[in-house]
Symmetry: D2
Subunit: 232 residues, 4 copies
């Protein structure tokens, strides 16, 4: 992953699968190529193969099961998503929480396979503990703001600043923040506050013009980066 980064979680929205998801992925891919900003799409397991064949951006799973290969009906394993073309996976999203030992298992197995992991947590206090398990990034999202359109950067900026402080204690760990991110300014502010990227779902998936929203987010990210470079 290259930072700053936008993570777009397709979740199980009606445009998260099938032809709509393919078109959406291609348009996001186009924005990423034009802007030079890294964008990851986290898609349903049924779509990983089809989408990853069509785009150059990294395609992530939204969840994998921490079970070894074998007699595990219904499991989606790290090996399966890797083979299907995934570059990584989300882990422990607040809509699909797993246990601490499972987080450790998934991170270790993913790393061995060359898959990247972004572990979601619901509070900044978990950034260091989970960060020590060695994921590529931590995505902090206060669950009460998810899907509200009230962004963490406006409503609870202290979650970001606290998490920024925490993430610096773990060497190499990157911080992504999310929940309610809905404008380019939210992205700009989050990155200015010290985040390495943002996670978003409903603002893109429920938009009538998702490309436009993504482009706006990318602009927010670029603005924050350029100010960092110029020192403003």
């Amino acid at each position: 992953m290259k930072f700053p980064i936008l993570i777009i979680n397709f979740k199980a929205y009606e445009n998260s699968y099938g032809e709509k998801a393919l078109q959406l992925s291609k348009s996001i891919d186009k924005v990423a190529r034009e802007s030079g900003i890294e964008i990851v799409v986290a898609v349903p397991s049924t779509m990983i193969h089809r989408i990853s064949k069509e785009v150059s951006i990294p395609v992530f799973a939204q969840h994998v099961d921490a079970v070894p290969e074998g007699a595990h009906t219904g499991a989606v394993t790290p090996e399966m998503i890797k083979e299907a073309g995934a570059a990584g996976t989300l882990v422990n999203h607040s809509e699909r929480r797993v246990r601490a030992d499972e987080i450790d298992d998934v991170i270790k197995r993913s790393r061995r396979l060359g898959l990247e992991t972004i572990v979601c947590v619901d509070r900044y206090e978990l950034v260091v503990p989970i960060g020590l398990l060695g994921p590529d990034a931590i995505l902090v999202e206060p669950p009460e703001l998810i899907g509200t359109g009230v962004s963490v950067s406006r409503a609870r900026p202290e979650v970001i600043t606290n998490a920024v402080e925490m993430v610096q204690k773990v060497k190499g760990l990157k911080l992504i923040v999310g929940a309610g991110i809905s404008t380019g300014d939210d992205v700009y502010t989050s990155i200015k506050l010290g985040a390495h990227g943002i996670g978003v779902a409903s603002a893109v998936m429920k938009s009538k013009d998702p490309s436009k929203v993504v482009r706006e987010f990318v602009e927010g990210a670029k603005r924050a980066v350029s100010e960092r470079i110029t020192g403003t």
Copy 2:
């Protein structure tokens, strides 16, 4: 589904995904076409689309989540598997059990989408209760025999005869039995005892020559059917 039927559950075995799974599916497809016996493959969600494009037999999911479309990270919904090419889904496998209300939700939503459902139970006492919720078939598997190579038809034939008695109380319901099925004789006996089909996983997935095993199973099924027709 057409009966008698063989359900081959790929589970998460190392040949359940990727090129190996595609080749295996094609060879099973060939046996099905040559024999005229219906065979269903239940495959990982990442593989549904690729396999269903390549074969004419029904491809099933191994599990779906009972959540509606929307903000449900990591979910595999009935709509997603339908779009990917699935003809149906297993529900409530002993390795992926769900609650009674979720079974009801999945059956209802699947039916609306034209997906077939095979609900697994671990005891014959659940055949009627779960059968009343309206699945296409019930798959009875004593979990302690799964993967052992000691078949339910040899070790616990009373599970089959009890389940046969139960299934007749629910109009239109079909009975599939499984656990430890490993020879053509196991298939023959199961169907002779009154089952409409058998479920199998390890005997096929862990075999060095899976096609041969499937062919043997098909022969067992044909033998049982022909005796039924000739009345022996």
Copy 3:
């Protein structure tokens, strides 16, 4: 259990444990004795022993685990609650759902121990399937009304009438209804519609005068019964 019946679920409210719970139980016991209407209290596992020693009404657990005796840290088994003085247990409350096989396990083990079981379901379609497993009663509660003060008898009377129709298909099964029950009229209407009892939690537990609420409920139940007797 004697019908009509009131089930008062203490849940984990701040007065569900300790001295407050003991006083509340005693005052409910008094109403039950004075009115002759059967009232069950479902209390936290830490309180079963203390409350059951102090009252003559049946004390239920709110949940038991379907595990056998042995190495099961944190489990509350049917044997444990029996020994503590419980007369029965709720099973599968919408706030503590369990799987179909676990419901079957709990019912069988409870019956063997002489414990009564009231299985909660969230829809009338589950009354017959779960009823066939042999619980003493089914408690139907549309979860969207729980805790709202908008009663199932006012907002969704068809849930009750449908459930009444269903429960008659299972010999000996009793029907309790709940969700939003908050007045004596709600109790009266529920029983008039055919229920054998009602389940309640917040209306009692969050009341400033719980005895008064319980007394009002008892009056509603008595009114319905007397009309049934006199044929009005």
Copy 4:
């Protein structure tokens, strides 16, 4: 808690509840008083009140639910066990695992109530991450050895030495080790290797003479301590 310490987990064994559990607790209490070694009993929630009234040693719950007070049927909250007389609780036992956010919730709420927490983990890699959340002690148990009688100190001493190294990174954190502990020598070795205590279940609960086993454990602990003092 005072160290070295023995944690005796009653689990759900047939003598974990009722009169047998009371007698067992009293005999353990006697050994603790006579030896001066701290012993904690972790008992079923139905027994906390009765046992804590009868003994002077700390009584722990085996599990608490991370839910706030309110509409949570079947929950056992920190407040409930506190009121019943518990001094603390086990958290995240391998037979009752919970999520990382739940571990954090339980630790915080317990501390506020003056309850001690011992968080179980299945690998030494989790000692620091979970330790950072602030429990009083971490109990490391390789699950594959639990209940085997093959002790972690004999079969996998490196788990202990690795955990000892880890626990020193978190100020004030204590390390307890367990799984298969069955002799006084196991206790002695564990403490000599650097653990602050041991956890045990089956060796005591399934013994015909539990007091004798506990006394032997206490002797092992005392021997390790005296050698530490005399520098042998």
